[in-house]
């Protein structure tokens, strides 16, 4: 591995963490697309910066871009706060307006200058190791490493200092207000950090990957845990993992680094979506299936409890009476039997004592209809699940 390759991976990992931290809060606040919005809305800042300096390479252009980014989030936050429109609508109202302002400024005043976001922000991690910071003739390392390192340290410090406030403001704005600090201040702070991170990360790695780094790791861990601390650490790890595997995949295929990392992130999310315990697709499908059999068993036991007549309870005639397929009847019967709810005597099915108690409890549940209680009842009675 050459130095350049190592530096690229370090930069990618730092950007991944720097994006993942605000990303978790943005996803929780349903503001995830703000990073995409910023990638467009910084254009007028760049254009105005160019009109002032007349130089595409001036750092003022990046500064103006950052300011426009902050302006974007302030406007979005303000519109959203009015409560008149939803979060995504607020984002959608602000960024097209700013972006088109930039386009108009270019079309009217600078039609023959190569002026766009790509011309000012580097946005290509493959070249990051060659854009180095020289101090007094000494090579201090890649410029974007310093920039993203600074951004990451600042947002880490902010996160540690305001962790409690951020947590409450994100999950319960009302409580935050009643505790005496304004969630609005925290929100503006979070959005400003997100905006600065986004612009800095654009310069280091490019627009698409920044959006992916902000949203995908946070979305992955959101399916795995509800613990905020675990989400923050988890999404950072997902980001770093995708960066490094994506980088080597790009190496093997000789293709765009940002492209492969974003693809790896997409695949990771798909895997999590399929296999996550509790919220995953497979787990959900299994649960639904389980519940169906269990409900069927309950129906069956109510039937038994309600019918004194032995003919109705004969094991060979069940299908006729409850109108089930043979397969289904077998499954339900087995579940009830395994759980010691029924006993079979001379081909006649009887409820056991346990079965009777369960049925009674279940009836009282049905009358007041509390879901949590049913799960509790099942926990107490079941040895095997459906």
């Amino acid at each position: 591995m050459t130095n350049a390759q190592l530096e690229i991976q370090i930069i990618l990992s730092l950007v991944a963490v720097a994006c993942a931290l605000p990303g978790v809060f943005l996803v929780l606040r349903k503001m995830a697309l703000i990073s995409d919005a910023i990638s467009h809305s910084i254009l007028p800042g760049i254009v105005i910066g160019f009109f002032i300096t007349q130089d595409l390479a001036s750092p003022l252009l990046i500064l103006m871009a950052t300011l426009t980014g902050v302006l974007t989030v302030v406007l979005v936050e303000y519109i959203q706060k009015t409560g008149l429109v939803k979060e995504d609508t607020a984002i959608g109202l602000v960024f097209p307006a700013l972006f088109s302002l930039g386009v108009i400024l270019i079309a009217r005043n600078a039609g023959d200058v190569h002026l766009d976001v790509d011309a000012v922000l580097l946005g290509e991690v493959a070249f990051a190791p060659f854009d180095r910071w020289m101090y007094n003739g000494i090579d201090m390392g890649p410029r974007s490493l310093w920039m993203i390192g600074t951004i990451l340290s600042v947002s880490m410090i902010m996160l540690i200092l305001f962790y409690k406030e951020l947590k409450i403001a994100t999950f319960d704005a009302g409580l935050a207000a009643s505790l005496g600090f304004t969630p609005i201040g925290i929100h503006y702070g979070l959005m400003t950090v997100s905006s600065v991170t986004t612009v800095g990360a654009f310069d280091a790695i490019g627009a698409i990957l920044v959006v992916a780094f902000m949203i995908v790791p946070a979305a992955c861990v959101y399916l795995l845990t509800t613990n905020l601390k675990k989400m923050l650490v988890g999404s950072s790890l997902v980001g770093i993992f995708a960066s490094i595997t994506g980088y080597w995949l790009a190496h093997a295929l000789d293709t765009s680094i940002a492209g492969t990392i974003a693809t790896v992130l997409g695949l990771l999310f798909f895997m999590v979506y399929l296999f996550a315990p509790n919220k995953g697709y497979i787990s959900q499908w299994y649960k639904t299936k389980q519940q169906k059999t269990e409900v069927a068993m309950l129906v069956f036991m109510l039937h038994l409890a309600n019918h004194e007549d032995e003919r109705e309870r004969n094991i060979n005639h069940l299908q006729e009476h409850i109108n089930w397929s043979k397969q289904r009847a077998k499954k339900v019967l087995r579940l009830a039997y395994q759980n010691n709810m029924i006993e079979v005597k001379d081909e006649v099915i009887n409820l056991t004592e346990k079965g009777l108690a369960f049925t009674e409890k279940a009836i009282s549940y049905i009358s007041d209809n509390k879901n949590s209680e049913l799960e509790g009842i099942k926990q107490n009675f079941f040895l095997f699940r459906g």
Partner: protein, 304 residues
């Protein structure tokens, strides 16, 4: 959680410890950006040097996306040659910085004097980067590059000078041939309408009036007013054909054609010109001379 983090640290340090596989290359290695430059350096160096172009055929240099292999190419290059004048976007800044750090980089635009470069009308500090469309410019660049290459790699000095002298003759001949072809077109008819402002140098050299639908940047789009203004211009001057470009989508040019037709006149699409990149390297248009001849023939045939 702690276990996962430990695993991660191990995972990363494992990768970090992978021994580096450095290939020793004996030949002088030159990395170039656009296809025009790749062609020129290959002509000058022949088999004596290794030339690696990072942009392929038909790639718009403004919107070029790097691949992982470019990292190794750039870090192992003995010399990097690029166009300059912001043609390669932010990469130009990167190359300038690499130069300050001791890596040899050459911007072709540096070989040209001020009056050989076309400035932006609105901002004096901005320039038109499509310098290769002037054969005279390309000749200046060839001579400059021969000197620069001889200095950077003195072992192959003779090769560069021999190939350079031969290529200058070829370019001279190209200029003569193209002048003959273009002279067959009356001055009145020398109006070139294309998708973006890439052909100003061509126009200056051969006395064409050049009208670009989009601005210099391929990212902005043509305004409705631009389309109206240019379609009036086409009708007024009885322009017979307009042109699409290899590296710009043809949508806007088709819109212009539709606009002219809606006013009851006719303009045909004269063909596809090579603007910011050469054609497929295996074909004639994959070389500078072939590309230039193709462009001129396409233009003259369509406007006749």
């Amino acid at each position: 959680m702690r276990k996962i983090i430990t695993f991660f640290v191990l995972f990363i340090s494992l990768i970090a410890c992978k021994p580096s596989a450095k290939k020793e290359n004996i030949k002088f290695t030159v990395v170039t950006t656009t296809t025009m430059i790749t062609d020129l350096v290959k002509v000058l160096g022949g088999d004596a040097i290794e030339v690696k172009g990072i942009m392929g055929a038909g790639v718009d240099p403004h919107l070029y996306k790097a691949s992982e292999g470019d990292v190794t190419k750039l870090s192992q290059a003995d010399l990097i040659i690029y166009n300059g004048l912001h043609l390669e976007g932010k990469l130009v800044d990167v190359f300038e910085k690499m130069n300050q750090m001791g890596k040899q980089t050459i911007a072709l635009s540096d070989f040209l004097s001020h009056d050989q470069i076309i400035n932006s009308e609105m901002f004096a500090s901005s320039h038109d980067p499509h310098i290769w469309f002037s054969i005279e410019n390309w000749k200046t660049i060839t001579s400059g590059l021969v000197k620069a290459l001889s200095k950077a790699n003195p072992e192959n000095k003779d090769v560069y000078q021999k190939n350079g002298a031969a290529y200058l003759k070829e370019l001279e001949q190209l200029k003569t041939e193209m002048t003959v072809v273009i002279e067959s077109l009356p001055r009145k008819k020398r109006i070139l309408v294309t998708a973006h402002d890439a052909f100003s140098y061509f126009g200056k050299e051969f006395d064409f009036e050049v009208v670009g639908l989009q601005g210099l940047s391929t990212a902005t789009e043509a305004g409705v007013k631009d389309v109206q203004r240019i379609s009036d211009f086409i009708i007024e001057n009885k322009v017979k054909a307009i042109f699409i470009e290899s590296s710009v989508p043809k949508r806007t040019v088709e819109a212009l054609q539709a606009s002219v037709e809606s006013k009851g006149h006719e303009v045909k699409i004269g063909g596809q010109l090579f603007s910011d990149a050469l054609g497929n390297p295996t074909e004639e248009t994959g070389k500078y001379i072939g590309m230039y001849t193709y462009n001129v023939n396409t233009i003259v045939n369509a406007l006749k």
